[in-house]
């Protein structure tokens, strides 16, 4: 230690501090200024310091591939054994599961044959429940599209659950696939095979460049018009998400991230769900306790009508678009 130059000591201290803190961060980069051979001759010693490196993505992926290989090998062995040895349990297992599957299909077919005819006027499903949705849906919810009135007003709690399902799926996929924070892993991606740059075909680029704004616009139209015409948050959100996916596929990651990335998706999704929960909590608490909620239904057919359905559709649209895009980009970032 004593032989180190002033700068070298500083670097060693920096390094030991980092080890002591035991943080997960990448160690502060140690910069060695080009050393002139000064007359003391001790200048090189600090080059022995080895910077501990975090497991890189390449190593992690290699490990995973190793697991996959093992699994494939094992599976092939099992299948091989089943093919070679006629008395092996796997063979019987395959036979039994085929027969079982066929039996279940048969039972379900018989069951379907015993059901009332779909859509016939005297089917049990045509009862007072469906009648009220269709006959007084417009007056009660203010939505011309009775499906929107059904899922976002009469049974809004189910739809809230459905949005939370999408949220749960995104959380689990982020958990599984996001190996590092985005700002850390730029170099790692490049270490594997570089940023995804998009496709080279010029016609595809031209077509997508022309249609992309219209796809997004159409998606927004379907979301906003959800209470007036067929569609709504789920379908419009899926269109917007598909547009973003198309953009990413054709123009590559860098360009696409100017619009949106997984972290932004996460925040937008959380925001959408928060607004949904806030609005619906208000409406459910007032409704359950017999208080008038004072939400104007508006004039049927105009864009600002349908009470809460209009903002709820926007929230659902945001959540769905973000789910579609974030699932896609989490899968592609590592396998592209």
């Amino acid at each position: 230690m004593s032989g180190l130059s002033e700068e070298g000591k500083k670097d060693v201290k920096k390094f030991t501090d980092w080890v002591n803190a035991n943080s997960e961060e990448i160690p502060p980069e140690i910069v060695y200024p080009p050393k002139h051979d000064d007359h003391h001759g001790h200048g090189h010693e600090h080059k022995e310091i080895v910077i501990p490196h975090e497991e890189t993505l390449r190593e992690k992926m290699a490990k995973r591939e190793h697991i996959d290989e093992n699994f494939q090998e094992e599976w092939q062995n099992v299948m091989q054994k089943a093919n070679d040895d006629p008395s092996s349990p796997e063979r019987w297992y395959r036979l039994a599961s085929s027969i079982g599957g066929a039996l279940i299909v048969l039972v379900l077919l018989i069951t379907v044959a015993n059901l009332p005819r779909f859509g016939s006027p005297d089917a049990p499903a045509m009862n007072e429940v469906a009648r009220r949705y269709l006959e007084s849906g417009l007056q009660e919810t203010g939505a011309v599209n009775s499906v929107a009135g059904m899922i976002l007003d009469y049974r809004a709690f189910d739809t809230l659950g459905e949005s939370v399902v999408l949220f749960t799926a995104t959380v689990t996929v982020i958990f599984l696939l996001q190996q590092k924070e985005r700002n850390h892993n730029k170099e790692d991606i490049e270490a594997v095979d570089g940023n995804y740059k998009g496709i080279r075909s010029l016609p595809a680029k031209v077509i997508v460049a022309i249609t992309f704004p219209f796809i997004i616009l159409y998606g927004i139209y379907i979301v906003l018009n959800g209470h007036l015409s067929p569609g709504g948050g789920f379908s419009g959100g899926a269109i917007i998400g598909a547009g973003l996916v198309l953009n990413h596929l054709v123009f590559g990651q860098e360009f696409s991230e100017k619009f949106i990335n997984v972290n932004k998706c996460k925040k937008l999704m959380a925001g959408g769900l928060f607004v949904y929960i806030a609005l619906k909590t208000y409406s459910i608490l007032t409704g359950a306790n017999g208080i008038n909620s004072h939400i104007p239904l508006g004039k049927a057919g105009s864009i600002f009508s349908g009470g809460l359905i209009f903002p709820l559709n926007i929230c659902v649209g945001v959540v769905v678009a973000c789910t579609v895009f974030s699932l896609y980009s989490l899968f592609t970032d590592w396998s592209s």
């Binding site: 009332p116 049990p124 809004a156 689990t172 409704g287």
Partner: protein
Amino acid sequence: MNNIPFISIIISMIASIAMLLLGKKSKTALTLAKGVLLVVALLSLLLIPYFISTGGSITYMLGHYPAPWGNELRFGLLESLLAFVFCTVLLLAIIGGKNDIIEDVQSRKHNQYFALLMLLLLSLLALIYTNDIFTAYVFIEINTLASCGIVMVKESGETLRATIKYLFMSLMASGLFLISIALLYSVTGQLLIPSLFASITNLLASGTYRWPIVVACTLMTISLGVKSAMFPFHTWLPDAHGTATTSSSSILSGVVVKGYIILLIKIYYRVFGIENIRQMGVLQAVFWLGIAGMIFGSIFAIREKNLKRMVAYSSVAQIGYIYAGIGLGTYAGLAAALFHMIVHAYTKPLLFTSAGGLIAASKHSKLIANMTGAGRRNLPAGIGFLIGTLSMVGVPLFGGFASKVYLATSASETGYAFLIALALSSFLNAIYYLPVLFRIFARSDADEEYEKEEADFGYVMSISCFSIINILLGVGGIYIMHLLNQGVQIL
């Protein structure tokens, strides 16, 4: 008062979303998770004395539209008691498994882990409280994804494989549940539980559409049977529960599996009616599958050399007890099965938490053969395992004894099969639990090799809370049984 269930669900929903935004502040996420669980537990506790004094149940309209058109929650004594039990188990499981979470889960993902736990909590609460079969399906989906998520968090090869197995079986079961809802809807035109009951009773009395109703009932039993590890469908359980991180194993075995059993009980008693179920022969099948589970689960456990997998197989046997109790088809049998469920909800997490400590004290080896003296090195874990084992085997003064007594008395009128299976299963339990107990308290020559573990306050607290609750259930079980008997009457 009647807003409590809805508010509990919304609080956990908001917490789960907030946690995703917390970034790397895992301490804050842990505190938030504990806080939410504590608040929800206390809120549910408030409901219990209210329902004891008034009796009956409350139906809660979600929104401005009454039941068959809008959604509805319904809750009474039983529901609030179960919500309280589930919240306390979750709370103690994360306090006790904290060290293993830090070790097994990447630190930047801690907040996502707690977000998944909150999602699990809200889906369980919704499953307990819902009065609408389609709402139940929506929250089953959340529950499935979140519980697969908490198995996966360790991100090792074996947990990923266990998760895939669990995910496939769970999703197939969700599909069967959806098919049976579709069948019921097309013959009755209803989704609300009381309307379904009225409609199904009429249809069965008149004999129309009998076959679709029987098929729907069978599919629902199979679907929830797969999700709750009923005997022949249990194959995912030892992998998932045996490889996950400690707190995940505790939560899955203590709580998640039970949520589906509660839903199945609701479907039997409130959708189809228990007499109709008996006529269809489904009830008898459930009874015999329960008996088979009691015996085969124990036999599988005897063969296991891995401690966590052994404890997991023991769950299969215990779930067999619960299904056999339900299969009796009497209110007494149901109350005893529910009591056993509560005892198991507190005992199995105790066993998993202490197994986690024992594994940590034997150089992270899960093999029972390597655990000589582990109970001495980590005394809290050893004592916890001792109490859990004594309860599982059925020694007087512990919860497991009380629940077996109630099951036996409720079964005594209906025949000897259950009693024989109960005795046999207790004996088999002793065969595989006692050798482990002797081994972990044996004096080991190599004690000096191991570093002595510092006892962690949270860990000791979690173990002692579980143990005390277990003994309280053993001593004062009669009071809980009284509540359950009252609760099942208004199911």
